[in-house]
């Protein structure tokens, strides 16, 4: 009985420990602009936040077994719709950002139903073509979107300093991650994972397969539309090429390098792959080699990404403590 209570208190301590760590992390991050005066570093942080949100939302779609290769296309829907609304209609950013997210989500639902018939590789392919098609629609309506010259002159959210943007994107990151974490840990998230493992078994126990797939796409696209719209108001210039096919692939690479299995994977992947090459920016055009070196190491040495390595190390330490010899941990 005592043993049980001890276990219970240990479990409670573990449960409390994690949120405390995250709260401390957020507080440190929110105190950072007081210490760091360089605008450049603040901008890097903002970019890292943008990518963290986009990659985490991509992971939510991936948990339902759909590896989307057109996520940057969805991001461009949010960004361009917010940009065009505020530029042509003169609406305030606080209206256009939610509207951009809703527009992205609505389009995701519209295309999600026909796309949900396709599984695995075929879904990846159709999302890839959808992402490219969004870009070409962009060029077709060049008088509104600016075509390949880009959309310029979007009204900024805050005038002057970058610090308000930092707090805005920090808040957005915390909100999005909490939202996505909540979705993943509740019944809906479990259904996503069930569909990913076996669509047949999932439908046999009464999970509406296509419905949940569309839901996953809609949730992921809502978040990515939100961050895309915010990015439009932050950057005030949207370039055609920043949402192309390779941008979607990069999001996927951040996710896989971080580790697709755990929620923290995309965050670690983005921090390492966006930040570390920035540290080496003195190398100028040689900087991409750093990126290549990191992803090569990860793909050859860590099959489940960086968080997969953490898990293995944790398991190894636990086994050592219990005095067991492990032959192969995974």
């Amino acid at each position: 009985m005592q043993n049980f209570q001890q276990n219970l208190s240990l479990a409670c301590r573990d449960k409390i420990k994690q949120p405390v760590i995250y709260c401390v992390l957020v507080i440190i991050l929110s105190l950072l602009p007081i210490v760091i005066k360089s605008t450049y570093v603040i901008q890097i942080f903002i970019i890292v936040f943008v990518y963290i949100i986009a990659t985490s939302s991509l992971r939510t779609i991936a948990t339902s077994g759909q590896v989307s290769l057109g996520h940057a296309g969805f991001m461009s829907i949010g960004a361009y719709s917010a940009g065009i609304m505020s530029k042509l209609l003169g609406w305030a950013p606080w209206i256009t950002i939610p509207l951009g997210a809703i527009a992205t989500s609505a389009i995701a639902i519209l295309v999600g139903y026909p796309f949900s018939r396709l599984r695995s590789i075929y879904f990846s392919m159709i999302s890839l073509f959808f992402g490219v098609a969004i870009l070409s629609i962009n060029s077709v309506f060049a008088e509104y979107t600016g075509g390949s010259y880009g959309l310029t002159g979007i009204p900024p959210m805050f005038i002057g300093s970058k610090i308000p943007y930092y707090y805005y994107f920090l808040g957005l990151t915390v909100f999005s991650l909490l939202f996505l974490y909540r979705i993943e840990s509740c019944r809906i998230g479990m259904s996503f994972k069930a569909i990913a493992q076996s669509p047949q078994v999932a439908s046999s126990i009464g999970i509406n397969e296509s419905g949940y797939r569309v839901l996953a796409l809609a949730v992921g696209c809502f978040i990515v539309g939100l961050v895309g719209a915010s990015y439009a108001h932050y950057n005030t210039v949207l370039s055609h090429s920043s949402f192309n096919f390779l941008a979607s692939i990069y999001l996927l690479v951040y996710m896989i390098v971080g580790g697709i299995q755990s929620f923290g994977g995309p965050i670690i992947g983005v921090v390492i792959l966006v930040w570390v090459p920035e540290l080496f920016r003195d190398l100028k055009e040689f900087t991409p080699y750093i990126f290549v070196a990191i992803i090569l190491v990860v793909v050859y040495v860590m099959p489940k990404g960086i968080t997969g390595l953490f898990e293995r190390v944790k398991l190894w330490i636990k086994m050592r403590r219990e005095g067991k010899v492990i032959t192969h941990a995974s």
Binding site: V67, P114, F115, R117, L118, S120, I121, Y122, S124, M125, I126, L128, F129, F130, V132, A133, S136, I137, S139, V140, A142, G147, N244, F245, L246, I249, Y250, L252, V253, I256, V257, I260, E285, F286, P288, Y289, F291, V292, I295, L296, V298, V299, Y300, P303
Partner: protein, 286 residues
């Protein structure tokens, strides 16, 4: 009349080049089961090798085309298959990561070596054929001839040679092929080498007809994925049909509308095909 003739020639040029590049991509999917997103970058490298051999080393242009194909083919067969794709076969996510690594490596290197400005290989033949009142550039005719020649050689190779039949066997049933004593890895290395060599030829020819740039591969990659999806994964004849359709669209629609609409129409056709018939025209369910 002249527009009609030029239209036919242009669509044949585009079709044959698209097919040459897409075949390598199709081989990688059907024989090795991987998505080789680096194929566009390899096509670009082929063009640059030919440009460099002909320009800096002063070799004969035809010789440099052949050399480019041999260099890239052996790179694909000996290095890419063994060290980049074999460890990850069947794992879509990690293959994408390794392809991105190859793309970045190649594009960054090309950027450093050749700069961002656009270059062009000099034309192989600069004459202009005159048939009656119609003038046709001989370069394009030559491109079509080379393309058709290579494609028919490849078709004969697959149909009549032992290696070609082994390639078909591996693409249909890898485990069954191993049971029959086919050395699967060697077959996939040969397939990848052929694909890379064809991409190098296409890159060299397109680099002379159009232009060379460090990012020309991205466009071609999207086109080859379109072709493979249209024809169906695992089907070689499907790639030919898909290539003709996309080539005709790309050559004829710019006469009526602008380039953006053309691209959009091609993509919409592929998306519609995927929704209503995911296995393509000739493919099988994967």
């Amino acid at each position: 009349m002249e527009t009609a003739v030029n239209l036919v020639i242009n669509s044949l040029v585009l079709s044959s080049m698209y097919i040459l590049v897409a075949l390598g991509f199709a081989f990688a999917i059907s024989i090795m089961g991987i998505f080789n997103f680096a194929h566009g970058a390899l096509y670009m490298v082929g063009g640059y090798i030919c440009y460099q051999l002909a320009g800096s080393f002063g070799l004969n242009q035809w010789l440099s085309l052949v050399l480019a194909a041999i260099i890239l083919g052996s790179f694909g067969g000996f290095f890419l298959e063994r060290y980049c794709f074999r460890p990850f076969s069947g794992d879509l996510n990690r293959t994408i990561v390794i392809s991105v690594a190859i793309i970045l490596l190649i594009e960054t290197t090309a950027n450093i070596l050749f700069g961002v400005h656009v270059q062009s290989i000099p034309p192989y033949i600069s004459e202009i054929l005159k048939i009656g009142t119609i003038s046709i550039s001989a370069d394009r005719i030559l491109t079509i001839i080379i393309g058709v020649f290579l494609l028919s050689t490849l078709a004969f190779f697959i149909r009549w040679s032992k290696t070609g039949q082994q390639m078909l066997a591996v693409s249909q049933e890898p485990e069954g092929a191993i049971l029959q004593g086919i050395r699967t890895h060697r077959i996939s290395a040969i397939a990848l080498a052929i694909g890379c060599a064809l991409a190098a030829v296409a890159g060299s020819l397109m680099g002379s007809l159009f232009e060379l740039s460090a990012f020309m591969g991205d466009y071609m990659l999207i086109k080859s994925i379109q072709l493979v999806i249209l024809g169906g994964i695992g089907s070689i004849s499907g790639v030919l049909v898909g290539g003709l359709i996309i080539g005709i669209i790309d050559a004829s629609l710019p006469l009526l509308t602008n380039a953006a609409v053309t691209e959009f129409v091609g993509l919409m056709i592929v998306i519609a095909i995927l929704v209503f018939r995911p296995q393509g025209f000739f493919g099988r369910e994967v």
